[in-house]
Symmetry: D2
Subunit: 141 residues, 4 copies
């Protein structure tokens, strides 16, 4: 009997910046996409393929869809924990999900879908070793 | 026999700012939520209930869900036309949809869902005259 | 007897976006640098050398110094007029000044200093025809 | 013989976010003001008077002047150390200076000047105990 391993998760801490608030007195909803991105960066680094390196090797991962559900407000100076998981890593398409937590409370959750393209925008295929790293099937050498 | 009127649409022009680009050389995906918001502001103003005034009267419309599908990249200095429509206006919940166009090309489309709350966060009900204005069923007096 | 012509000025309109406000209820002070940049873009376009084209020709103008004095607050939905002037245009260095006005009121004023470099960062010299255009000494052909 | 104590300094780490880059491939110059603000927040917290608490007590510190000198570019994913110091703390005016370092390299330096006002904008005087804390003359109780 094989057991499914849960997909790996990366945790990132952010503190809500004053510039990220709006006049409603809460973190502006667009800030969450920027936090998701920071969480995704941390995920890739932790899995052994920093996004910075991917880009240097000619793989860019533009967002083709983004979604966020806001459960409760986040406030200036709040310490938030971002969770990022790659729920699907395919040759030309990656799907990430995110959760924003403040201590035990779910603040927001969301997802992004990315294509794999060359810098000019042409489709590209992620190498198998990168796919395995992002899936948590192998460890960085 | 009554005929369904299509929901009103507001058009807003934006020019992509340099600060809105990222090192992929395109407008960053979080910028679109900011543009949607500008389009929503314009929609409310056009319908006769500027969001600024709604807030002054104690109605805030926090985003509880946002979504964007990116069809093609937008570039620095591009002139974009934003379309905003309120597809559902209810007492405590409003649903907007958006399209980002560059001349005839669809660049992105998205939606946001908003609750109606008092400044402290308690649920509030939009007055019927505001609902009628946002639905395009009446004209500003 | 020669007469000094005043340096050309470009005017740009912006409306303060909700995302640009902070929990103090005013436009966040970093937004002004983004507005200055939009005003500078407009200035270059008006003078006949759009910044987009300059970059395509291999001239980038990174900011080496920026300064802003905030005279009074700007608020969500305010319509602001941005004034941009190039007070000094030299082969390898350009100095812009800006004013942010709300109807007759001075909201802020600032300046930026830019170097002229190649995309990799090496110093480059602006062509004489670009210098003349930015100084307003010649008109775009 | 009394010796001048150097003003206290707070150190904050930030990692350059992808959203903070622009199409020049570097961190956008407006991002530095946001980092200065994060550094200032950390400074106030470290000195025992978190800015969040100051605002709750009715003291806001709007920026009336900001300045930054950019020495070299910062790149996506760079780990930067922000230094913040309060070089002058007076009843109604505070002057902060900042340095942005990447390992041993000075990336940028800047300053901000703040007034002390009530939420509505009227001048207010900082209490002596807050002044002493920010100056590092006393420790938080």
């Amino acid at each position: 009997m094989s057991e499914e391993k849960p997909p790996p998760v990366a945790l990132t801490q952010v503190r809500v910046r004053y510039a990220e608030t709006d006049q409603m007195g809460v973190a502006h909803h667009a800030s969450y996409l920027v936090w998701f991105e920071a969480a995704r960066s941390e995920f890739c680094r932790q899995q052994g393929c920093p996004y910075r390196d991917l880009e240097k090797q000619g793989y860019t991962l533009p967002v083709v869809e983004a979604r966020c559900r806001y459960r409760t407000a986040a406030f200036y100076d709040d310490e938030l924990t971002l969770e990022a998981r790659a729920v699907s890593v395919r040759t030309r398409r990656i799907h990430f999900v995110y959760r924003v937590m403040r201590r035990g409370t779910l603040v927001a959750e969301g997802e992004t879908i990315h294509l794999v393209v060359a810098p000019g925008g042409a489709p590209r295929s992620l190498p198998q070793e990168v796919i395995a790293l992002l899936r948590g099937e192998s460890r960085p050498s």
